[in-house]
Amino acid sequence: MSDAKLWNVVGTPVEKVDAAALAAGAPLFTDDELPRDLLFAAMKWSPHAHARITAIDTSAAEAMAGVHVVLTHQNVCRIMRTTAGQGHPEPSPYDFTTFDSKVRYVGDRVAAVAAETQALARAACEAIVVEYEVLEPVLDIRQAMADGAPVIHDEQDAHMPIVAPYEPKRNLAAHVNVAVGDPAAALDKAAVRITSEYECHYAQHCPIEPHIVVAAVDGYGRLIIRTSTQVPFHVRRIVATACEIPVRDIRVIKPRIGGGFGVKQEVLIEDVVSLLALRSGRPVKIEYTRAEEFISSRTRHPAVVSMDLGFADDGTVDGMTMRVLLNTGAYGSHALTVGCNCGSKVLPLYKCDNVGFLLDSVYTNLPVGGAYRGYGATQAAFGMECAMDEAAVAMNLDPLELRRINHIGPGDSSPIFKALGEGTEGVEQSIGSCGMSACLAQGAAAMDWHAKRERLDEGRFRRGVGMCALMQGSSIPEVDLGAASIKLNEDGSFNLLMGATDLGTGSDTVMAQIAAEVLGVSLDKILVLSSDTDVTPFDVGAYASSTTYLSGMAAKKAAAGARRQILEVAARMTSTPIEKLSIEDSRILGGSKPLTLSDVALNSLYAEHQHQIQSVASHVTEKSPPPFSAHFAEVEVDLATGMVRVLKYVAAVDCGTAINPQLAEGQVEGAVLNGISFAMTEEYLFSKLGKMRNPTFKHYKIFSTRDLPELVTILVPTYEPTGPYGAKSVSEIGINGPLPALGNAIFHATGARLHTSPFTPERVLAALK
């Protein structure tokens, strides 16, 4: 079934459709095409982690020549909402308004200015005088819910828009407690029991293009927003709410964007720049600095993950509980859903009837969590996969063997699929495709796992290997919607309009490949336009590993509709029954005379039964088929300094059919290196008062070419029956492996178990003692 020879375009590494233009440096990004008479925005940020604004004096700023608008909580409507770019109603607390009279972290919004130059806008922000009543901050995640802890969201109007536990008076942004079977009893009678706690840290996505938005009111009075976003349709809806204007008066355009990784799933600053444009009547641009990107954007939610695993003598897992304490920072963006994903994308990997999951997502006066590639699974996999390694050691089993005994397989289900969804109950599903066994075998072979596990080093430099197993999902079942439309042009080319958002991943290319395959044309005949709310059909956007699997199916259906219409016309033109006709290389085959797609288009547009051949389709899924992956890491630890070198890293991944193997590999490589960088060097350093002290690439180290270990990517083909041409997701799963795989490798090398990330020399040395 997965025979790639069945397909002409799908399964081949065709060139990314926008790559040549990007390599030429063409003006394709938000900042590359600016309107005339542009104003520049700047924002004033809170210097305090927790404070009430008692007075703001904007008169000096407003008096500056060239300053057009100053916004504060005093002149902007209070409308409680979330910045999380999720479907309606968002499963995140409505604890945020454009400007508030309270600030809740260092870097929270105080005011915004639009002025003739960037320097002037910044100077005007400086000229705003703010008086604060400084409050005691909550800076320790474990103290957030303690009796007497300062209440961060003490406003009366914060609320949860869906039915879900929400207790801001206890700094509790989200809570989940589910159990299937009897985990407590199973754990009590387990032959081997592992209880262990893992804590992972703040990190930022670091898209090389920081957040940038240009908003302008056009000649018809409509607000046109060009923004570097993953969720153009959610931007439109949420800005409409924030600015109190109808959705019809907003058009959101996503040009090329310089990386997202989840941080641009946030409707972060579109509200401010829209208000500035509406009030000034001039186009306004806002562009985050790198420091603002670190401090005032979004982060990976730090988490404390406590695992309790019980095994029978034969190594099968009988009971599991996972307790997650998630730090959502000052606002509850994705606090519930990232938390739920900790359980729902990690626990089902192992067959077990007795499973418990407990989540407390707590507010602190620290930077705000958000969506970040992996989305909770990264944090939870650290706990689960290191605890599995501990279990293997305790049972004297090869960690690879322990995974092999326990992992879920084709036809299996997990009670967690039903018990735990995106903030609500989940959707029952059984596994269709699963290449986990092959991932384990091929990954181990590429690492030379068995030989390297046997090696014992002496002396200062110790080498070791570690591994982990992973799963993710593909879209949110019964929630996410993708849609596509396609029309035929005179020369036999097609315009494919996608709501789906290409954030540099290559989804435009993948969509074009799918449509080209259905229509029997080469890739250059498909012209993709995506993410313009006035022009393209709806799509929830690029998140939840949904684009290839979900939007790809919408593209496939839309193309199939156009194909049917083409064949109807061709059948009439050639007086041939439609069943005998097919399309290959832009020609209609099987008819009584030769026809091309261009002949069909010209006939339908100009000659007979005139109409536009065009089709639109939507897709919603009933399943979220997991991609599976096995990761293997080799490290060398310097016992004297605690320095860890990553020598080699192998990621074997089952993403179903790789529609474009080169792009799929690129997704894995990018995710894996981001994960390694996160595990080894990336870290927020805070002052005692909660201020991030290292908001630059000099002091927040992301990996560069010199740091790159040998990376091996293995695509393990399977065929997912519910996906387009057998495809599942690929983009997120890779980032989840490095924390546990490297932690387990360090343990194998040294016998020191790292329970806190990142694995800096200081932490490694401390663990060695």
Binding site: A19, A23, A24, L28, H68, I208, G666, F697
Partner: protein
Amino acid sequence: MPNDKPRVARPPQEPTMTLELTINGSAKTLQVNPGEVALDTLRRAGYASVKRGCDEGDCGSCSILVDGRLMRACLLYAGQLHGRTVTTVEDLGTARDPHPIQRSFVEAGAVQCGYCTPGMILATHALLTEHPDPSEDQIREGLDGNLCRCTGYVKILDGVRLAGKSLRDGGDQ
């Protein structure tokens, strides 16, 4: 929409310096402010390939060639370009008529979001000019100042190797 306050017209600060330089083979005269950073000048002049990523010389997205040497536009004052020859990626080739390095990056799958790509390509250009047949170490050293968050660098390094080979074999240019 009502304005907050009466519009006080104030043009941006008047440029007070005349900069003469060669950009991509053309003689240019640009009016700039003293203290203006070359990144801002070049972007304002329409060289969109010079990207802003950090403003602190850390990410390499604003890489340009100044008299053939790889430099970061965010660390240069515009005035420092006076009399110099500046090359941006726009000078190498176009989407339909790419330079061998651009061609190689596309073929290798080195372009994901594309934001770091112009800088990477210029870093590769500088590397291959100095070392036509670079060692692995020289490749990694040559690109170390340019950050990419999408690719994990694997296919970028493939692109550099492919470009080197292509240029050694004669390329198109």
